[in-house]
Symmetry: C2
């Protein structure tokens, strides 16, 4: 937005980010929905467990900046599909440690490779340097550093 008076919606960063996010997510969304009947929070939980190993719901909520009720429902759905199991922590019975089952692990690996190929497709339109710049700027905006 170079000029004060000339506001352009298409330059407004939150709008632009939302449009880009939506556009870039659609294709992947279709895959995990069609292939595994998953919702957005469900694949996120799956990926967090697949990437970082066994975690509690709380830890996933923190890492993904997602509200605990969303996580709670996603965990219930994944459990129902036998993609994960819960184990109560004997030391502190409030905590449930979540583990991917073999089926969950295999869904994760499958979707991870899909994600990787979508990512490559998206990023290939930029130079390596620009891709790095983009990633760094988005991380700052997402405050996930």
């Amino acid at each position: 937005m170079p000029d004060d008076d000339e506001f352009n919606l298409l330059d407004f960063l939150p709008y632009l980010l939302n449009q880009a996010a939506e556009e870039s997510s659609t294709a992947f969304h279709k895959v995990y929905k069609d292939r595994y009947g998953m919702l957005r929070t469900e694949w996120r939980v799956l990926f967090h467990l697949g990437m970082y190993g066994d975690l509690t719901a709380k830890e996933i909520a923190l890492r993904s900046r997602t509200h605990k009720t969303k996580i709670s429902r996603a965990v219930a759905a994944l459990e129902k599909r036998r993609f994960l199991t819960r184990t109560r922590d004997t030391r502190d019975k409030r905590h449930e440690i979540l583990n991917l089952t073999a089926a969950g692990q295999s869904a994760y690996l499958d979707l991870r490779s899909v994600a990787q190929s979508y990512h490559k497709d998206l990023i290939s339109q930029f130079s390596e340097q620009d891709a790095k710049r983009l990633r760094d700027m988005l991380r700052r905006l997402a405050r996930t550093d």
Copy 2:
């Protein structure tokens, strides 16, 4: 994602974009919700009308890449709050031309200035050149060129 085997969720572009979008939208969301009781699609409709003048619902749906039912409900809500009026096109009675009322115009101007200031805050953490690069890359990803 430099290495094939080392997938990192925090580098996955659609995820990163979603996180950045959510993070950067929260504060503005609160403003239009608290001040005018608007939803996301409602401010988008308001902004499209404010920026581009009188449009039909269809045109807004196209420009904002939003489903027509969402637009339909947003228009109904804005009409109820007397932020816009509809005029049936006499040439083609299927079209309704939407116009902001004075109240709608004033809400638009108010929110626009809020948006501008949020935008400036967000963008100020980057150099002018990086900001331009970011905008251009996001536009390409959003395919809004």
